[in-house]
């Protein structure tokens, strides 16, 4: 039984069905990556897991417990961290305030978690007093991930964390994401940069029209000539 598991999910916006019996699972200390062509329902699948999309069929469980009836906010308090693709930081607030807002639901002392985030992203410690809106794209993404880590989630969900950052910054972000994984957190991410993402993925999901086309370890998917030809450009 995986930590976070969405099985046979069916749903969409209004009458448009986007997910067709799609299954996504991720376990502790594991990186699962959802890749696929545009409009395959990658982000939609992640939103469904996070409760931002009404499902008509299927189930979503966290640690074996049905969480279908929970709102996204309630899922956050249950240990799910979500980093949206855009507008994922408070631009007018300082880096440290962003982290404090991430811990808003916590009633205990969270300075230790802030220190842990600074340890993970040393550049943020340096810029802690600076407004998040003044940071570079890569640094902003680090703030966004850091904010989501403040609730000490068991699952971290990232919607295209490397969108719009340079290849060097992307490599660095992936390194950091692996470090997050190594602390025992389950990491689920949607990625456009399929090849690089699959390289660090323990599990890869290739979605096409809202269905699981291929599911395997990242390395196996990269080695599969058909997957390479169709989705990775050779």
């Amino acid at each position: 039984m995986s930590l976070l598991s969405g099985k046979n999910m069916v749903g969409g916006y209004g009458k448009t069905r986007i997910l067709n019996e799609c299954t996504i699972e991720v376990d502790r200390g594991e990186i699962a990556v959802i890749v696929g062509p545009n409009g395959a329902g990658k982000s939609t699948a992640m939103k469904a897991l996070f409760g931002m999309l009404e499902l008509t069929e299927g189930s979503v469980t966290l640690d074996g417990e049905d969480i279908m009836h929970l709102s996204p906010q309630e899922r956050v308090t249950r240990g799910m961290g979500f980093v949206p693709q855009t507008n994922n930081v408070f631009v007018s607030m300082s880096v440290e305030e962003n982290l404090q807002m991430g811990a808003f639901t916590r009633t205990d002392e969270f300075q230790e978690t802030i220190d842990q985030v600074y340890e993970l992203f040393p550049i943020l410690a340096e810029k802690r007093r600076q407004a998040a809106g003044e940071l570079s794209g890569g640094q902003r993404q680090q703030v966004a991930v850091g904010r989501a880590l403040m609730t000490k989630p068991t699952v971290l969900m990232l919607d295209e964390p490397t969108a719009g950052v340079s290849p060097i910054v992307m490599d660095e972000l992936f390194d950091r994401i692996m470090e997050v994984r190594n602390t025992g957190i389950a990491v689920l991410m949607v990625e456009q940069n399929a090849r690089q993402a699959l390289e660090i993925a323990d599990t890869g999901y290739v979605l096409v029209t809202g269905q699981n086309k291929y599911t395997d370890t990242g390395a196996a998917l990269l080695a599969d000539s058909e997957v390479r030809k169709t989705f990775l450009g050779g």
């Binding site: 507008n87 994922n88 408070f90 607030m93 305030e97 404090q100 807002m101 904010r147």
Partner: protein, 336 residues
């Protein structure tokens, strides 16, 4: 420094500096309320001026009651004692209007312009309430000591031709405004609820995702706005006089202040308040005497750029200039 230069400086302080700082503080407090509503609730609140009148009215009624009971603060105006009542009544008013009117449109996720029009409705209702309860006439409610510095005493002490007058209400306005602003900034920058308000204003979706309760943010904002508007209204009323129509007219300079500074930015509202206040005074002041002291010869005309009847045109001009050249305001707030 020659006596003429000192006389010119005193004249300047008496007719421009002191009134400008006082009026600027009052506008700043009002503009802060406008900017907070805009930042958190995302609409331009046209009912702001009349809400100010409402808060001031209840402070006046309570002041009269206190006076009739023989309560007084000695040299300070009794209205200061009545302020909490005015703030509380205004808080009730704005929260009732939020529940009856704005909440509905928030749930409908209406466009900002719908909120603005709704606030015009709220403005008319509030205006009606005020006229119904206290009437449309001028009301005086200032008591206690009148002057901190008297022109006659100043002249006697310094031997100058020009006198300096500082009214107690002017001093009070500045002190209270500074204290209120410091408290507001401490609240917004340092407290958990204040930061939640800023986060909600910055990025509503992410704030919800972080577990910030929007209902709490909305209520907190209205409570602060009620306190700021009542303060602004009472200080203006003490300094000049209370007349419901004047408060409605204050809407324009207050909006100009909020927009000039950068709407949604509290610091911008304060800056804008002083810019508007000083522009109004500088453009409507008759410089005849001042030039006389500086040049040694008085010009034949008044050297008044605009008649005081046109003071509201100054706000309009500032608005036009800012919206044309820097629509986000001096501190780069949000665009309206």
């Amino acid at each position: 420094m020659s006596t003429d230069t000192i006389n010119a400086l005193v004249l300047f302080a008496n007719f421009i500096l002191v009134p400008g700082i006082t009026y600027g503080s009052q506008l700043a407090l009002g503009a802060l309320g406008i900017t907070l509503v805009y930042a958190v609730l995302r609409f331009s609140n046209f009912a702001h001026g009349d809400t100010m009148a409402f808060g001031c009215m209840f402070t006046i009624l309570t002041t009269w009651w206190l006076q009739s009971m023989g309560v007084s603060l000695g040299p300070l105006p009794t209205a200061l004692l009545a302020l909490p009542v005015g703030i509380a009544m205004t808080a009730v008013l704005v929260i009732v209007f939020d529940k009856l009117v704005y909440k509905h449109y928030r749930e409908q996720k209406s466009a900002p312009v719908v909120f603005v029009i709704a606030s015009v409705g709220v403005m008319f209702v509030t205006n009606g309430l005020v006229r119904f309860i206290i009437g449309p006439n001028d009301q005086q409610f200032s008591d206690g000591m009148r002057f901190l510095v008297r022109a006659r005493d100043f002249k006697k002490a310094t031997g100058l031709d020009e006198g300096l007058t500082i009214k107690l209400t002017q001093g009070l306005t500045v002190v209270i405004a500074i204290v209120a602003m410091l408290l507001l900034f401490y609240f917004l920058q340092r407290t958990r609820t204040g930061k939640a308000m800023r986060a909600y204003s910055d990025n509503e979706d992410l704030a919800l995702l972080s577990g910030i309760d929007p209902k709490k943010v909305v209520i907190t904002t209205w409570l602060i706005v009620a306190a700021l508007t009542t303060l602004a209204g009472v200080l203006y009323g003490l300094d000049k006089s209370f007349k419901p129509f004047t408060y409605f007219q204050l809407l324009l300079p207050m909006f100009a202040a909020a927009i000039v500074g950068g709407v949604g930015k509290p610091l911008g509202a304060i800056l804008g308040g002083f810019i508007v206040a000083f522009s109004e005074i500088l453009l409507t002041y008759a410089y005849k005497k001042l030039i006389g002291y500086i040049a040694g010869e008085r010009p034949e005309t008044l050297v008044q750029l605009l008649s005081t009847d046109y003071k509201f045109a100054v706000s309009f001009m500032i608005l036009v200039v800012v919206l044309l050249w820097r629509p986000t305001g001096i501190l780069r707030g949000k665009t309206i």
